[in-house]
Symmetry: C2
């Protein structure tokens, strides 16, 4: 059996706790180092999360990237730091698992992807639900045109109720750190769900819904948009930090409709439900979806690391880029007074 992929965690954001647990649970991955802005903070993260004592605590991000025993980095830094540190990681030959939103705009993401390609490292964004076996099962049903027919409409809603503290202090509402706010955070999932439903055919147009809720300094707290394809397919989404936890999806075809109510985070760790047509499905999973993500990423990284001359998978970077491109178009529609924005075909 090949050596597990050795992860370094670049930044101690809260989400890193969940992902470090996932790396521990993944059969083909292990954590060897944590990097933070201080060695004390990195050490505290190691202790708090029960990582092995020999996990190295790096007091700078650079130091972690110079660690020769790190194969891959997980990057949960604020979005505004992604460009700098994801490209730096790629240049050091580290494979990159990058939290979403991948960047502030697709031009930034392109620089990251170019750095990954130039340095022959795998790229993947941290959209966990993509890796749940439920997603594969749903995809099989949606791709069966005898069962599903043609895609007609997708509705995706992702909300949670942020505490007042979150709205004032969390990086996801801080314009210097995560300027995309709710759109970049949970809106990313909505857009990904829509693109996934459409088998990644790009919509032609994005149109923001008027009157989004923003912080005083203009960070989106609650917003929605519609997406339109040339063949008449329509999608709408709504994302909010100001409403009750809601992760509702409806994918409407000409022959069946798929619905689920927990698309971002299944209510149970060992199984997940959805409805297709008149049938309720329950899909078991041996591993939580974030562990499935780590395993899949590590599998792809291992193929590159352990096979001289082999190239990283291109599908995950492509999916991330499409998601970011649609997100850019939605953002542009907000910024341009809710005008329709054309989306490039690729």
């Amino acid at each position: 059996m090949a050596q597990p992929i050795r992860f370094g965690i670049l930044g101690c954001a809260r989400i890193a706790r969940k992902v470090s647990r996932a790396i521990k649970l993944s059969p083909n991955a292990t954590i060897v180092a944590v990097g933070s802005r201080s060695a004390e903070k990195a050490r505290r993260f190691i202790d708090d999360n029960g990582l092995p004592d020999n996990t190295r605590a790096h007091g700078t991000y650079e130091s972690l990237l110079d660690d020769p025993e790190v194969d891959a980095v997980y990057v949960p830094l604020p979005t505004s730091l992604h460009l700098r540190w994801a490209t730096a990681a790629a240049r050091k030959g580290k494979h990159v698992l990058l939290e979403k939103p991948t960047a502030l705009c697709v031009a930034e993401l392109d620089q990251i992807l170019e750095a990954c390609e130039a340095n022959n490292v795998q790229f993947m964004d941290g959209t966990m639900w993509m890796h749940h076996p439920r997603t594969a099962k749903m995809r099989d049903l949606l791709r069966d045109s005898d069962l599903f027919g043609q895609l007609k409409m997708v509705s995706s809603i992702a909300c949670f109720l942020a505490e007042p503290d979150f709205l004032q202090n969390n990086i996801r509402a801080n314009p210097e750190l995560d300027a995309l706010g709710a759109l970049g955070d949970i809106g990313w999932y909505c857009i990904r769900m829509i693109l996934w439903s459409a088998d990644y055919r790009m919509p032609r147009t994005a149109l923001a819904l008027p009157n989004p809720a923003k912080t005083e300094v203009g960070v989106l707290l609650s917003c929605g948009a519609s997406l339109h394809w040339d063949d008449g397919t329509v999608a709408t989404f709504y994302c909010s930090f100001l409403a009750h936890r809601t992760f509702e999806v409806a994918v409407v075809g000409s022959k069946a409709t798929l619905t689920l109510s927990d698309f971002i985070n299944p209510l149970q760790e060992n199984s997940a439900r959805f409805t297709f047509g008149s049938t309720d499905h329950v899909v078991p999973t041996e591993l939580p979806q974030e562990v499935c993500m780590i395993s899949e990423f590590s599998r792809l990284v291992g193929a590159v690391r352990d096979n001289s001359g082999s190239k990283p998978d291109k599908r995950w970077p492509s999916i991330a880029r499409k998601t970011q491109a649609v997100l850019d178009a939605v953002k542009a529609s907000f910024d341009e007074g809710f005008q329709p924005i054309q989306i490039a075909a690729n």
Copy 2:
């Protein structure tokens, strides 16, 4: 016990079969006459639907309205005929249960409502799901601010897959008869669901989604819109004759979310489900929702008929008018190139 309300059915549309069964099942209603454009057609309807042999078959609508033993009429005629025949019925002193959409525009509906008020007859539109006990149970939960908090967002989807024959021959796709197409038919339910969720607070703005599907002569087959309130509440809906049967609703509050998947027509006749927060509810009903509708209408009619000097209930006309007013605004947004349309407060 008071004498049952004596119904005349004005027109033999397909939906009249379901409603005539509902009248038969309702404890306070009975069918005494059917009017059609020919007496033969009326007689056939009576026979086909197992109505009593002494049910009178009228060969003209006028003749039915002149029948002195008719207290109330159910009007399932094409929308373009509503103004003429609903006002004629009111002027003959008949109470009016009118199929949706109630009219081609709110100006027409106002004439109908004025005729009803002037002649002291009850008005109600035929939105059956409003009368299911599930709806009352859901309303209680939504109105409990400790449980639901503030309304943030409503999503409503209503679709069914019409046969090619329907699209060519059904009155709901005929511009002379039902010019509002899918918007008037199932879009009516979506708009009503949104207004009901908002406790009938009117949205400020309606904005049609671009690129609706239309017939060659311009009847809407598939379309959507968003509605916006001053406090930031948002609603979206989508309705289509071109997609699989889907009746999905999500009502998102700050403290809970309500969802249901069969809002127009419960999957079972004797109970209906919904989810509120993390709890699945099942609400039994002794009578199908269309029978509940007939009973409620007949109760209101009886109060007027049997109590000299009493006035018809005003709540149902008001709800119908608000629904039609929002529908008008959505239609105007389509007609004016997807511009936002202001909606009057009442």
